[in-house]
Amino acid sequence: MSERRFNFRTDEALFRGGTGLFAVLLIVIVGAIGFELYRQSILSINEFGWQFWQTDVWDPVAGEFGARPFIWGTLYSSILALLISTPIALGIAIYISELSPTWMQRPLVFLTELLAAIPSIVYGLWGIFVLVPVVRQLQVATPDWMRSLPFFTGPPLGVGMLSAALILAIMVIPFSSSVAREVLRSVPQAQREAAYALGATRWEAIRMALFYARTGIIGAIMLGFGRALGETMAVTMVIGNSPRITWSLFAPQYTMAAVLANEFAEAASELYLHALVEIGFVLFIITLIVNAISRAFIWSMGRQRKPRAALRTAAARASA
């Protein structure tokens, strides 16, 4: 009996130490990645300094490197993808968890998760051969008054920001919607029952659930954003790979991950190589910043007082 207790205690310590070691290991890995990226890009950091973030020129022949068009392309395409995918992903999640008949749930879950399992090169090829021609038709059909807007200038190439954003959105949907669905499922049934008890309609009850799950849903969206930032193969096949800064959705642009994948193998000069690694470093920093912002956002939401509008209207109707 006493031996058992002794073992139990060492087990506790071992277990605590073991899991703690893994947690520390994670921090060490992140730190090591950051340090190594810094070390491998030191030539470029010394040569260009902050200019690297602010210059538009990317000229391997002349040895001039600036990352701004790539930073722009990465953020612009990811934000556009988020704008397109969020309503769809949330719609899917809400329908599956709240509204769909039970027999439909399994096939729907299976299909959204199937989207996540498709390799990105397949998305890219599908993009070139199916999506891009459709986008070009759309661009050809764009009325002239729209073309005068900064978002729709340029010749109808098909490849470009719009195609990239659309393909990213499709790739992000399964991630956001799966997590959002799980989050919605974790809303206690008592919450919904309470809402119904107060006379809430179905829509009001769902809004209650959405509000209850809001931090998790933001987290689901940010997970999709992180994926969009780093997506490489599918994007590079449809974005047109042309480093320029423009609002136009029709214009070919470039992303950080894409230029890394494209130019790394053939980069022979040291400075060129270091500039490419610095792109990776910049992407690493931006990903950290984006995650920090989303964390801060979630944290500040958790501190907010709960608005009771939905409940109040329901209660008012019940008493009427």
Binding site: D59, P60, I128, E266, A267, A268, S269
Partner: protein, 356 residues
């Protein structure tokens, strides 16, 4: 709850041990190194363009000298040069010769040996036109620089009488990934257009003044096929395999030459008399009536003193076999082989490699 803790910690320790302990096993090389008894392991890395041929060579050589193990990793020319410089591979391969600075950075003297030739052809997608168009060097440079923006530009029409060119914008498509194909293409354009040379220059990746980038030959071809009015460039081999119509290009003698394996070998042969001893030569826009002007060698990179005599001998034997007996495989796979006069020079150069 007792066992799982141990089970959780063990794989971690095993993982750490594996990280620190793994060293590549040294290759065992016996002194006697006739082709059939090497017993050496040779690792190489580099250019992707000749990779199908090198793989074929390695497989065929395995029948001649079963004891020699050769691994070739097609990681790209830049990676090949880097790994050779770091001595992580025994031989490298590249689609463009090493620069003087790169040679200086290498820990030993590096030999360049041309293996086969690559050629680049202009491709286009103009609705209603299936015939072969003619281009001159300056015209190609004008299109790529964005100076010529319409297919019915008088400069294009003049070269192609009898072809009704549409009033359609030219969309230039280039390779977005660093590539030897881009190097040959921009090397040629730099030779025929001073403006291209000063504003863009020649490299595996350049700063394009206009157009869109497709990833890989297949990405570029996909874009050209689907964009009416588009213009691009691919390897001759890729165009032949995929039955893509391509244009003829005027060479330095004023002839319009359609790229073919023979026209590319002719380019190499005409460049041979002026071949420098280190083989680092650009043969774009060569003299010669039959020569196709947008062509280049691809090179194997070897240390003059590889440091390991047994493996060095195995490597020299392999390269000698590949360049001589391997030529028939080159032709079968659609590569233009190195002409005889260059081959003789290479055999002499191979003799300088230290195998003792």
């Amino acid at each position: 709850m007792r066992r799982p803790t141990i089970l959780l910690v063990l794989p971690l320790l095993a993982g750490l041990a594996a990280c620190s302990g793994s060293q590549p096993a040294p290759a065992s090389g016996s002194g006697a190194a006739s082709p059939a008894s090497g017993g050496a392991q040779l690792n190489g890395a580099g250019a992707t363009f000749p990779a199908p041929l090198y793989t074929k060579w390695v497989a065929e050589y395995g029948k001649v000298a079963p004891n020699v193990q050769i691994n070739y990793q097609p990681l790209g020319s830049g990676a090949g040069i880097r790994q050779l410089t770091n001595r992580t591979v025994f031989f490298g391969a590249s689609d463009q010769p090493m620069t003087d600075e790169q040679l200086k950075a290498a820990p030993g003297k590096v030999l360049h040996l041309p293996t086969v030739l690559g050629a680049v052809v202009p491709i286009y997608n103009i609705p209603g036109i299936t015939t072969e168009l003619r281009f001159t060097g300056p015209l190609l440079a004008g299109i790529v620089l964005g100076k010529l923006t319409k297919w019915n530009d008088p400069a294009i029409a003049k070269l192609n009488p009898g072809v009704t060119l549409p009033d359609m914008a030219i969309t230039v498509v280039h390779r977005s990934d660093g590539s030897g194909t881009t190097f040959i293409w921009t090397d040629f354009l730099s030779k025929v257009s001073p403006e291209f040379k000063s504003t863009v220059g020649a490299d595996a990746s350049v700063r394009w003044p206009t157009g869109v980038g497709g990833k890989g030959s297949e990405g570029l071809t996909g874009m050209v096929r689907q964009t009416p009015g588009s213009f691009g460039y691919v390897e001759l081999l890729y165009a032949l395999q995929n039955k893509i119509t391509y244009g003829a290009v005027q060479n330095s003698s004023g002839e319009f030459v359609r790229a073919s394996i023979d026209a590319v070998s002719a380019a190499a042969a005409s460049a041979a008399p002026a071949m420098p001893a280190d083989f680092r030569v650009s043969i774009t826009n060569p003299p010669g009536k039959d020569a196709y002007p947008i062509a280049s060698f691809t090179w194997l990179l070897l240390y003059e003193d590889p440091g390991d005599p047994a493996r060095a001998r195995a490597l020299v034997d392999f390269v000698r076999w590949a360049l001589k007996d391997g030529r028939s495989f080159a032709r079968d796979l659609g590569y233009a082989p190195v002409p005889d006069n260059v081959l003789e020079m290479e055999m002499r150069a191979l003799d300088t490699i230290k195998v003792q």
